[in-house]
């Protein structure tokens, strides 16, 4: 009957991890519906109070800021990654291909703290970028880049690039060169070929890359914490502050639950909005 007798054993480690994850999520959920007792690590009885508190403008704003930050990061990553992915797929030079791969994938191999610290060196008031611009005479005095949303987005774009480049390259490599050649022969210049053929046919990759970038950024912690320096508040930095500065575990837990629900909702929405585009581009 069972033609693959070891299949059950192969998936068992993954099953174990899944069980652990579900248990942890249940624990978080359990915390989120308990009352907070100031000055104590113990939690009180059952309450929905934590969720109700989230409607206050301070927290609602943090959610809104986070969604905005994720959106900006995903958009900039897409704009920067698309040409790279295109060049990666279409170049005949293997040297250029390796160069693009190395440049776009290295951020994955740097630790989050090391990478973020590098950005702090680049973005600081006496940092690399300001010094360079001052020396070149493009600026009169340093520009504030640390502790701004812009700085956070720049660093987040850096870490999201690899996955976006890889997903876009995968989609682009499935587009038959003959589609573009056929369009060219029919009188379409490079811009028209790109807008009417290449771009629509790469839509599945764009949607996949965009939603992945969105989800990654939503859960990013070290980058907004260190570069934002408390002045850029996102859901994850808020959870950290509440949990580890105020020791309000119940409220931190309820923020986590809502954050998770929100990012799932946004991704589901993106997918739904993009479905007609994907169907349009599908070749099968």
């Amino acid at each position: 009957m069972n033609t693959r007798p070891f299949l059950g054993w192969f998936v068992s480690p993954a099953g174990l991890v899944a069980v652990g994850l579900i248990a942890a999520m249940l624990a978080v959920f359990q915390y989120s519906v308990r009352a907070y007792i100031p000055g104590s690590l113990e939690v009180g009885g059952f309450t929905w109070q934590n969720f109700a508190a989230m409607l206050r403008p301070l927290y609602a704003l943090a959610f809104w800021n986070t969604v905005l930050l994720c959106f900006e990061t995903a958009v900039f990553t897409l704009i920067l990654a698309y040409p790279l992915a295109y060049a990666l797929v279409r170049t005949n030079s293997s040297a250029l291909r390796s160069f693009i791969l190395i440049v776009s994938v290295t951020p994955l191999f740097l630790g989050e703290v090391v990478r973020t610290y590098s950005w702090m060196i680049v973005l600081g008031s006496n940092g690399f970028l300001n010094t360079l611009l001052l020396k070149l005479g493009l600026l009169d005095r340093p520009v504030q880049m640390m502790f701004t949303a812009g700085g956070v987005v720049a660093a987040l774009v850096h870490v999201t690039m690899p996955i976006m480049v890889i997903m876009l390259a995968a989609a682009l490599s499935h587009i038959d060169r003959n589609y573009e050649k056929a369009a060219e022969s029919l009188g379409a210049g490079p811009v028209r070929v790109f807008l009417t053929i290449t771009l629509p046919l790469s839509m599945p990759g764009i949607v996949a890359g965009f939603s992945t970038a969105f989800a990654w950024t939503f859960s990013a912690f070290a980058t907004p914490q260190l570069i934002g320096g408390g002045r850029v508040s996102t859901v994850s930095t808020l959870i950290y502050q509440l949990g580890f500065s105020s020791f309000n575990f119940p409220f931190a837990a309820s923020l986590s639950i809502i954050g998770l629900a929100l990012s799932l909702a946004v991704i589901a929405l993106l997918r739904k909005a993009a479905r007609p585009l994907e169907r349009m581009a599908s070749t099968t």
Binding site: D176, A182, A183, E184, S185, L186, G187, T283, T284
Partner: protein, 382 residues
């Protein structure tokens, strides 16, 4: 030669017509990929409304030549003209050519009508005119009811028709066909060939057709350019290619050929006489110009030009039947003739009589019954 050139120039000035001017002209076009030469100094003139086939095995440079005409590749040397205009440096989207790819390359995200309309949109044709011409093109390829379908909802043959309509609707100066039949099954292929040829003749569109299938080339073309290893070996009408191949490669690539061991007996003007054993045959002298009288030559004889006679009949070669292959309309006989040929000789016996009259092991005589025999200096069988 000079006189003919003058005559042609005179024709052009008197008539001023497009007929005298080649629709496509390649002057010594060369293309290299790294160190290897994909196309070596190709010279080719294609007349207006002509159906020209580029025939050769894979890697012979035929697709490179097509891509050069289309503008997808840049030539490393030589010039390309389309309707008299120099286009060597012109980008593909300004050359006004129609192209049908092997895999059709229909835009998967557009309907049939949108696919066909694509080339009209880039030309800024107005909506009403566009709709009219799309309908017209779809009617031409007998797909009138299919405007709203997506390419994936069509069969291979229908996709090919759409690709053809899309290429023709822009009224291209040249139609390029890149092995368009190779993805179709055999029965469909035949009927599509007939239909394509009809449409091509009806519209009078100059066509360059790339194929490795000699049957396709012989049946559809006005002229064929046979290519091998980046060079054009012969440009001629199909019957000329078949009857008077210019070299060993053409003789063996187009149609089946038996190579017999012969000797040059005499030469007089354009003709020469060769002997194969006791048999004498007349061949063109041009292809064996460098062979001395009495020197050995390879004589190429088509299977249908051989016939079976009784053993020892005068003017026949002795042989033994080794294999019979029944092909329906004819019988292929493989005959061992150690004195006359290295390899078994293939003989095509019409009807089914050959099955009973020439059983395996039968000792027979072979006679050569045609003037369409050519000889080449001896060489390795290609």
């Amino acid at each position: 030669m000079l006189m003919r050139t003058n005559q042609m120039a005179a024709n052009t000035s008197v008539a001023g017509s497009d007929k005298a001017r080649p629709a496509v002209q390649l002057d010594g076009v060369t293309k290299r990929f790294g160190d290897s030469i994909a196309l070596h100094e190709a010279w080719l003139k294609i007349r207006s409304s002509e159906f020209m086939t580029l025939l050769g095995p894979s890697g012979c440079g035929k697709t490179t030549l097509l891509n050069l005409v289309a503008g997808f590749l840049e030539a490393d040397g030589g010039e390309i003209f389309i309707e008299g205009a120099l286009v060597t440096e012109t980008p593909a989207h300004m050359r006004e050519i129609g192209i049908v790819f092997q895999n059709y390359a229909l835009f998967p995200h557009m309907s049939v009508a949108k696919n066909v309309a694509y080339g009209l949109k880039t030309r800024g044709v107005d909506k009403k005119e566009m709709a009219r011409r799309v309908d017209e093109a779809l009617a031409l390829v007998k797909l009138s009811g299919f405007s709203d379908r997506k390419p994936r909802q069509l069969s291979g043959g229908q996709q090919q028709r759409v690709a053809l309509a899309r290429a023709l609707v822009i009224r291209p100066k040249v139609l390029l066909l890149d092995e368009p039949f190779s993805a179709l099954d055999k029965n469909l292929r035949g009927s599509m060939q007939v239909e394509l040829k009809q449409i091509q003749r009806e519209l009078g569109v100059t066509t360059i057709f790339v194929t490795h299938d000699q049957g396709e080339a012989l049946s559809m073309s006005d002229r064929i350019a046979v290519m091998s290893a980046g060079r054009i070996r012969q440009i001629a009408a199909p019957d000329e290619i078949y009857r008077r191949p210019a070299d060993r490669f053409v003789a063996s690539f187009v149609g089946d050929a038996n190579v017999l061991n012969g000797r040059l007996v005499e030469r007089s003007g354009d003709a020469a006489v060769v002997s194969i054993g006791e048999v004498r045959a007349s061949v063109p002298a041009a292809t064996i110009a460098e062979v001395a009288i009495g020197g050995s030559v390879d004589v190429f004889v088509r299977p249908e030009h051989l016939s079976v006679t009784s053993r020892g009949a005068s003017g026949s070669l002795p042989g033994t039947v080794t294999t019979q292959v029944f092909q329906g309309g004819h019988v292929d006989l493989y005959i061992d003739a150690p004195g006359s040929a290295r390899d078994p000789i293939l003989l095509r016996s019409p009807g089914i009589a050959g099955l009973s009259s020439c059983p395996v092991g039968a000792e027979i005589g072979l006679s050569i019954g045609s003037d369409d025999i050519v000889a080449f200096p001896p060489g390795e069988a290609p």
